[in-house]
């Protein structure tokens, strides 16, 4: 005897299993899929900084690959308050995600929290806010590696002897201050006891200011042997000043710069070597991280893995930090292989 009840239950179970399987496969498939119709905005420190242009250029490439509507907006001065008005506007425009390089670790937090309350994902790249202000921070390399690496690079050039100075960007830039902290730690090591950090100057990532700050450093400290400028604007301005000064080749300059800005100074001997990761790749990675967050594939928790196009997969570390990779060192030998 066929019991209609049993039959219907069997059908229901079959349907359930079938739907579960379908659900399972789709949810499995979605793990790598980027949602359709995402809008991601990129807010650099300031828009006319050549480094930021390359970086957000990489982001836009990633957006195109993913079929995401991307745009770059931001202030012309690198200040937190100018970034705030852009963040507010992006909240109003209901972007899916905001990717930014923060001009201040704290001032932006209340506004970023407001964005996150409205389901807008926040990713920082390059320069972080305090962790509660964002889900993921895409870092160039480990901050420790960058900071210590700069000191090691300079020490090699000046034989671990003499007065040195740092030419930074703005006094509140999170990335700069973290690197400087590790530089100072590295300088504590016994092998650097002959080196003395005499001054940290701030060029505010403005060419003119960085140039005059360099001039000021060399006048105030006539025994200066080396300068570290961990910012592309600063290192280029410092190199330009040194290249025309009688101290050219006598005061060592290392830092983080783009090959195109530094080419002539490496070739004329003002600068022996400097380092940088690929800013375009950094922007690219940040775009993927933001899209994956906005698609609901990741939440920014430690240990989660996501794919980032040509860069392959990345795992989220402690405090939501994702690392791009070790920086490239540029010298007279290899600089012509790079064009950015």
């Amino acid at each position: 005897m066929n019991n209609p009840m049993n039959q219907s239950i069997t059908i229901k179970i079959a349907a359930l299993i079938l739907s579960l399987t379908i659900l399972g496969t789709t949810s499995h498939g979605e793990e790598k899929e980027i949602k359709k119709g995402l809008k991601i905005a990129f807010v650099p420190k300031n828009i006319n900084n050549p480094y930021n242009v390359i970086e957000t250029g990489g982001s836009m490439v990633a957006c195109k690959e993913m079929g995401v509507e991307g745009k770059v907006v931001g202030p012309s001065d690198p200040s937190a308050s100018s970034q705030v008005s852009y963040i507010n506007t992006l909240i109003t425009q209901r972007e899916s995600a905001i990717v930014l390089a923060a001009n201040d670790p704290n001032a932006l937090i209340p506004y970023l929290k407001r964005a996150m309350d409205q389901k807008i994902k926040v990713v920082t790249m390059d320069s972080d806010t305090a962790p509660e202000g964002r889900s993921i921070f895409v870092n160039q390399a480990t901050s420790e590696g960058i900071g210590r690496g700069q000191v090691q690079m300079l020490a090699k050039e000046i034989n671990n002897q003499g007065e040195i100075a740092i030419l930074s960007a703005t006094p509140n830039a999170t990335n700069q201050n973290t690197w400087i902290k590790f530089m100072q730690e590295e300088l504590q090591k016994p092998e650097y006891k002959g080196m003395k950090l005499v001054k940290i100057a701030y060029g505010n990532d403005e060419d003119q200011k960085s140039f005059t700050e360099t001039q000021g450093l060399l006048q105030a400290y006539p025994n200066l042997k080396g300068i570290i400028s961990p910012t592309t604007v600063g290192v280029a301005a410092a190199a330009r000043y040194l290249s025309t000064s009688p101290l050219k080749g006598k005061v060592a300059l290392v830092g983080l710069g783009t090959p195109n800005q530094m080419r002539e100074f490496v070739k004329d001997g003002t600068v022996k070597e400097f380092a940088l990761w690929s800013p375009a790749d950094l922007g690219y990675l940040a775009a993927y991280a933001a899209a994956q967050l906005a698609s609901g594939n990741i939440e920014g928790k430690e240990g989660e893995t996501f794919t980032a196009g040509k860069l392959g997969s990345r795992t989220i570390g402690k405090d939501g930090v994702v690392i791009l990779g070790p920086p490239t060192v540029f010298t007279a030998e290899n600089i012509d292989q790079f064009n950015f």
């Binding site: 006319n48 012309s76 937190a80 308050s81 506007t89 201040d104 670790p105 209340p110």
Partner: protein, 337 residues
């Protein structure tokens, strides 16, 4: 008879400048709503109004100062100094209400220094306040150097960020609305207001009609300093960040708003209504263009052009009127024959 006519003519001209601003404002609002569906949301208006609250505050006393044919370029530096002082006091565990009072008092002192130099030594305010612009900013850097204070108590930060319940009006903007009404009453309905116009129109005449010019100017600069310090406090809470470079360049935005508001560069003319309208207009134009993803450089060009227009247009209107009147008079002379 002729006296009467000239004052009505002046009134007409002033009214028409505000009418022009009002019309521009309507165009900007409807245009903004038309271009962008997010423009007319409460949330956007809260941002829009909050964005220029410090500049708006500083523009109020500045209007009165420009009406008396003086200028105060040090306002944004007082803002920065007050912000640093607040941060420093907070770091040294000073209770917040006391710190706020000290900051306002420091602002008043800065204004008094401006006033003293201008009144006592009869120095031009342009030169004095260019000097104090650098001086006060320098003090700010001495106080905090390159560091920042950011750990302000959440209830104060909430005030800086929040809106008045059930409205889109940011809490700090309510202070501006209140002060704007006070300034409007003082300028347009008290003897002080009339003295301000007479000093700006003709200082010697004002002196002989019994206006205490020195005391008036002193008060104006003290008022400007205090309100700039208030703007500094609001700025600090709005961004939870006290830094020496806070508000750099705001003085130019405030002066631009005052000029666009129809306050004459030569003094003697201008209204609070005009200044408030121009502040709103600049704020709305900036907001609409930002929402439309117009780049920051273009924004600057627009604001700059507005400022030039604001100085140019009233002159053009006046000279056109003059020409029309001349032509009409010629026709009248020609007609009876």
């Amino acid at each position: 008879m002729s006296e009467n006519e000239s004052s009505t003519r002046r009134l007409a001209r002033r009214l028409s400048w505000e009418a022009i601003l009002g019309a521009l404002l309507l165009i900007a609002i409807s245009g903004g709503g038309f271009i962008n569906k997010d423009f007319l949301t409460a949330e956007n208006w809260a941002n829009l109004l909050a964005n220029f609250v410090e500049i708006a505050l500083m523009a109020l006393p500045l209007s009165l100062i420009v009406i008396t044919n003086e200028i105060d370029l040090s306002v944004a530096s007082i803002l920065g100094l007050s912000s640093c002082l607040l941060g420093l006091l907070w770091e040294f565990k000073c209770p917040m209400p006391a710190a706020i009072v000290i900051c306002l008092f420091a602002g008043a002192l800065c204004g008094a220094l401006n006033g003293f130099l201008i009144v006592r030594f009869r120095l031009p305010s342009l030169a004095v306040t260019i000097g104090t612009l650098a001086l006060f900013r320098g003090f700010a850097f001495i106080l905090l150097g390159d560091t920042a204070v950011a750990d302000f108590p959440p209830e104060y930060a909430a005030f800086g960020l929040g809106v008045i319940a059930h409205t889109f009006v940011p809490a700090p903007f309510a202070i501006f609305i209140f002060l704007a009404i006070v300034f409007w009453v003082v300028l347009h309905h008290t003897t002080i207001g009339r003295s301000l116009y007479s000093v700006g129109g003709n200082q010697t005449a004002a002196f002989f009609s019994g206006v205490n010019i020195h005391r008036l100017k002193m008060l104006l600069f003290i008022c400007s300093g205090t309100i700039s310090a208030l703007a500094g406090i609001i700025y600090t809470f709005r961004f939870s960040s006290s830094r020496a470079d806070n508000g750099t360049g705001f003085e130019l935005s405030a002066i631009a708003a005052v000029f666009l508001g129809g306050v004459m560069v030569q003094g003697g003319k201008g209204t609070i209504t005009g200044v408030v309208l121009s502040l709103l207009l600049i704020g709305i134009i900036n907001n609409v263009l930002t929402l439309a993803d117009v780049s920051n450089e273009i924004l600057r060009i627009v604001t700059g052009s507005l400022l030039i227009l604001s100085v140019l247009l009233p002159n053009l209107i006046a000279s056109t009127r003059e020409r029309w009147r001349f032509m009409r008079r010629q026709r009248e002379i020609a007609a009876p024959v």
